[in-house]
Amino acid sequence: MKTVAVIFGSRSTEHDVSIVTALSSIIKPLELSGRFAVEAVYIAKDGAWYWDNKLKDIALYQSGGIEEFMRKAPKVHLLFDDGLTLVKSSQFAGRKMYKKIDLVFPATHGTHGEDGELMSILEMANVPYVGCGPEASVIAMDKVLAKQVTQADGIPTTPWIWFSADELSKTPSAVLAKIKGLKYPLFVKPAHLGSSIGITRVTEEAQLMNALEVAAHYDDRIIVEQGVSNLVEVTVPIIGNTELTTAYVEQPLAKSDEFFDFETKYMQGGKKGGKAGAKSGESGSQGYSKIPAEIPKDMYEESEELARAVYKSIGCSGIARVDLLIDSMAKKVYFNEVNPLPGGLYAHNWRQKGIGNVSLVEKLVDLAEERHAERKRFHTSFSTNYLKQF
């Protein structure tokens, strides 16, 4: 039986979302598959790593017991030995506990995890892992880079500009002048955060500075995007390395004057968007989606096609979710952003597509192993007499 380490939490505004993703959508299905022994590795908000079976219990976090746990539990060391081994004190006679890891399933959202940092460590350790590699993760989690890369591949996006938080504080008038070229409504976003944290929809100039300051509070890079008229938002979950499989094109059910902030997505079960429009039994895990999206067939197919193109352009592998904006009158589809580790793996959509939770995590593990085997084909050493000549 292979040992899979599920790493979650981390120094991120999406720390809590990550715990739920790990515990409900990854650890339990992996264990139920009967194929894997699962080790839970929790990265606390202060960045300390812990490894313990107790970390699989949601009650530990809900009750606040995690604080007590962290006070007593030994922290984890990582040992790179042509693979990854978890090491911690056994708290008995100075002995250490070791656990060789066969595969890592990252479940971190946002900064210090989903943004490629964790994947870089795993690359160094030469251990297979689920999901996008460091390069794709860095691009995907930087909304500015993602737009630049996809635009270079001819993928359409709405007009946008970006600037640094430093520019905003030192030369706000120059920043405002740059923004003047865009038409309202605008979306002001921190470049690196997910789950809609720090995002503001701005309908008039008077609201703009406040929105910029909110975004600058979370990130050092800010992106401002022009809104789409007659907007239909859709999202396309995708799995695969070279052969891609798309789930249903999913349509969040926000009113035209709203968008999905963190509160709507995770805390209200999608109440803002209203569940009433959702087909019975087909609402998303957070209760705010139509699956499949109720859009014309040509728009549906174009959305799938564009999402695949984005996935490939950014270099995603394993799993990702591509968010798109549709102008329903002009019948145009625009790339919005890409999420390299969708919350809850978007398991609700895959279930509708006919892939259950257990099958989904099994497929993702298989894809991780396939990519690792593929990368192992490449030589990383080259014999020279350079050192002898030195």
Partner: protein
């Protein structure tokens, strides 16, 4: 052995013992058999915990007091033995201290046996005697339902349909032994048009006794299959007991499920067979099974009655048709019959459909016989789905037939062509696998070590388009 011994000294041991008694319905023999089968008393209660009824609390308190007294007595013996240099007394004290879990696990049975012999037994005999008179004088039509399986469903079905036009009383839930019949009789008003009484056979001679007490006018035999074979020498003996209902009625007004393979050898020309194709002089046509129920037509000459029930499966058609025909015989109109059949819905854990994330689960976990397994597998074949999964731990109480029945079950599963078969690791798993191999099963076989964990997390395995049929579930005393 060490694990077994050490686990008896756990603080929860007393509660575990009372839980075991409760789970075996305070049957001393079944409890003691289970007790000596347990390997670790920490791992007994998986499916539920002790229901703290008055009786359970009293038993637990008595046992705890007894245990404490024995431990104290043991310590006193050890101390006195040491003081008086009496080695025998010291050893006796040690024996007392370490033997209390086994001693009290057996002593706890004594009040049950004495209570049954001197209190409950005589009271029940008085009640049964009184009920004989009540049943004999009752002016209503009495329908007795007997069989190895399907009795409760048949009774509930009759109750639902006949209640459309008659005042009907039926024995509650699965209360189907003489003492339950007596309690039922005591509650009758005498104004009922129809009485429906379920006969739960447990040992040879039971059904004959029930019949002579309740004096039925109509008998229904729902089927014969290996069940309770730990109390009957063989299936033949069980059949003889069940068909003593027909003997009581002199073969008149006896309806027998003709789809029950084992019942066929007991059929007599005077009996009325019922099946998915015919009941008495009614023919059955156009059966359609879907997730929202079953539809069919009753034909007699030019007369046609179209019926729709919420019950799932072709195997339900025979009992439904019989209920309709009996209802007409007792004077209900076609409209009342149609309305009554439309009101029949799946009973809990009996072919009960549930939709989870677009996947269908058919919960038939109360099923416990090979004919029921056949019906569930037929349903698995009949219902449309993208992926089909069949889940079962196997059957209990199959006696000497255990191996043969489970090999047969494996072969039947193969013929239903599920994509995945999920079995629970237990004493019959290898026989089912044997049957699967013999049948050439080509799908996936999963063996689950922890059934409850699997059932609890079933939704993680499911996706839209799946169909899962779950048949039977072993309670803790069988696992």
């Amino acid at each position: 052995m060490a694990e077994w011994f050490v686990s008896m000294f756990s603080p929860t041991y007393g509660a575990t013992i009372v839980y075991m008694l409760q789970s075996t319905e305070y049957q001393p023999l079944a409890y003691l058999q289970w007790f000596w089968r347990v390997k670790n008393f920490h791992s007994v209660a998986y499916r539920r915990s002790l229901d703290k009824t008055k009786a359970a609390r009293l038993l637990l308190a008595d046992m705890m007091v007894g245990m404490v007294v024995q431990i104290v007595a043991g310590i006193v013996c050890i101390v006195r033995g040491q003081v008086n240099r009496d080695l025998l007394l010291s050893w006796f004290g040690i024996w007392l201290v370490f033997s209390y879990p086994i001693i009290w696990a057996h002593l706890v049975v004594v009040p049950l046996v004495l209570g049954r012999l001197f209190v409950i037994g005589p009271r029940e005999r008085r009640q049964i005697k009184a009920s004989r008179t009540i049943f004999a004088k009752h002016p209503g039509v009495t329908i007795a339902v007997a069989g190895s399986y399907g009795k409760t469903s048949m009774k509930e079905l009759l109750l639902t349909v006949l209640s459309e036009g008659k005042v009907v009383a039926a024995t509650p839930a699965n209360k189907n032994v003489a003492s339950s019949h007596a309690i039922f009789a005591a509650r009758l008003t005498g104004k009922e048009d129809v009485l429906i009484i379920e006969y739960g056979e447990g040992k040879p001679g039971d059904v004959d006794r029930f019949a002579s007490t309740t004096a039925p006018d109509i008998g229904i035999i729902t089927g014969l299959a290996p069940a309770h074979l730990d109390h009957y020498p063989n299936l033949q003996a069980a059949g003889k007991d069940i068909f003593s209902l027909a003997d009581y009625l002199h073969g008149k007004d006896v309806y027998v499920n003709a789809e029950s393979e084992a019942a066929k050898e007991f059929l007599q020309p005077s009996y009325v067979p019922y099946s998915e194709s015919v009941v008495a002089d009614w023919k059955i046509r156009n059966i359609k099974v879907d997730y929202d129920g079953t539809t069919f037509e009753l034909h007699k000459g030019k007369r046609v009655i179209r019926l729709k029930s919420g019950l799932l499966g072709r195997h339900q058609v025979g009992p439904l048709a019989l209920a309709a025909v009996l209802a007409m015989k007792l004077g209900l109109s076609d409209k009342q019959v149609t309305s009554g059949i439309a009101k029949t819905q799946p009973y809990e854990h009996r072919m009960q459909p549930r939709n989870v994330h677009g996947a269908w689960i058919i919960d038939d976990t109360y099923n416990g016989n090979i004919d029921g397994i056949r019906a569930g597998l037929q349903l698995l074949q009949d219902l449309p789905a993208q992926r089909k999964t069949y889940v079962t731990p196997g059957l209990v109480d199959q006696g000497v037939e255990t191996e043969a029945v489970h090999i047969k079950m494996g072969e039947l599963i193969t013929r239903a062509h599920p994509d995945t078969v999920v079995l629970m690791q237990n004493s019959v798993t290898s026989y089912i696998r044997q049957g699967l191999e013999a049948g050439g099963f080509g799908g996936v076989v999963r063996i689950e070590e922890h059934p409850l964990e699997f059932y609890t997390n079933l939704e993680h395995f499911l996706a839209r388009g799946d169909l899962v049929v779950m048949q039977n579930d072993w309670t803790d005393n069988y696992a």
